[in-house]
Amino acid sequence: MTSSVDRSLDDELQGIRQGIREGRFPARAFNDQQIYDLEQDRLFSRAWCFLAHESEIPAPGDYVTRYIGNNNIIVARTEHGDISANLNMCRHRGNMLCKSEMGNASHFRCSYHGWTYKNSGELIGVPYMKEGYEGRLKRKEWGLVNVRVDSYAGLVFGCLDPDAPSLEEYLGGFQFYLDFYLKQGGEGSEVHGPPDHWVAETDWKICAENFAGDGYHTPVAHQWGFNLGYFPSSGSTHSQGWAASIPGLGHGIGLGHSPNFPPFGGFPDDLAERMKASFTPEQVEVFSQVRTAVGTVFPNLSFLMQPFSLVPGESGVRFVTMRLYHPVGPGRMEMYSWCLVPKDASQEYKDEAYRAYTLAFGQAGTFEQDDFENWTKVTRAAGSTMVKNVDFPYIMGMESERDKDFPGPGHVVRPYVNDTNFRNLWSRWADYLVGEV
């Protein structure tokens, strides 16, 4: 029975794949047990998944615990200064080794039978080694289950598939755009502190899509912001800008442009100068024209950079948020949300940027609040029986010509209000789900 169900799901996924090419995506994908299970098996176990920012674990011994799929992973800075990721499970009888979300430890000792590991995962201590195991246990063979890691500009990713291509290949040029978030100032970005962490009855994919450049929702979902005079763009100019995506890889970014918005506006002048000096001329040309940059690294890591003032009408600062959508069931997720600040900015600027983040996009953020209200309702509807065969339209920009003069990489189209990035995102998702990655 199971295999016939699986086969019909595979057939259906081939249909979904074809639909994406034609500008359709099924509602049920946003709340479905079978699809959730398949995502665990075929997507999160094979893609490069975000684990941590290096600045969260700056010193030897620092660690955080995070997830890839449903696997709890210890991400630690070893005594040699490199980063090691291991499954948070003792190899003896499977107890959870580390029960806190962050801390500093050179070793982890299991609270069940006392097996002890270096934070790099090597087994170094076994009680009653001689009396119990009589010399038959080889420590080398029983280290923690290791996770392959690689990093880009402070972002640490893990991959459970030993045969997957390198992270560099996986990102495939999207780094050009990520630099705007990750290389703020002259010395790059760091987290302001530990992330907000909350649960939501929302499917992770809704967030991933929204942050892949949904400029379309802003004037309505966040209408109060326009109402109170928060935005440097108005409803009439809001559609201006670009949608850039890396074809075949799923990554996408929306670049909102406002006429008359000053280049690098919202950054302190000295910081903006250092950024311009460290970016390539092409990056400077692109970023100078961007008010809002909102992008998703496939599958579930997103960024937003936005100028924002605490009180409407004031000049404001640029804040950057980085968020991870951790699926914990069909239509259910945990949100991790950080604020990234420029390392070499003054403490005053960092705090100001963080307060802007808190008021706008933290858990109590005035923009965040409305997004999750909508997304929870989308998820709820997607689980209803009537929508099993209902598709949503993804046809914006189907005929858009590529903007050949744009200096950034990927497939770039205008305007900002566009579905092109989403078709690319769902097409990559479908590639993984049918097992063709």
Partner: protein
Amino acid sequence: MATTTQVDLETRMSLQDFLYREALALDERRFRDWLEYLADDIRYEVPVRVTREALADWELTPTSRIFDDTKATLEVRVQRLETDFAWAEQPPSRTRHFVTNVVVDPGDVENEYLVQSNCFIYRSRGDEPTPSFYSLFRKDTVRRTSTAPGWEIARRWAAFDQSLINAHNMSIFI
């Protein structure tokens, strides 16, 4: 904190009554009235909690905040709720703030008191039969004023007892 009370009964009763009326303003969605209970120089803070070992230096992060507001930003939040487009509160959350275990101590300056309390919030949304519950510990600084209601909150500091917060958004006040 002192092990026994150093504050007279009348003051304690008055502060307790003040907190109850403040909670009532929130639960009745009289947000303009609620702002009147807050000092112009209020700092309104809700730190992020992280699950850590028992002996860790801190569990409430020194740097991360769920709310980090001044009177001006709280006014923006209220102004937002007064528009037709605050979708997070359309239809509005039905909240009930249960304020208990009120402990009053003298503050650092004259006419200010450190008022600690437990706050349990029941939140019901739409037709959802299952409400959300949030348990918090509050440390307020409350200042005596010459005008009604006789007190104002100079600082609200409130910490959730959950590290992973059971709410898709935090569109209510603590």
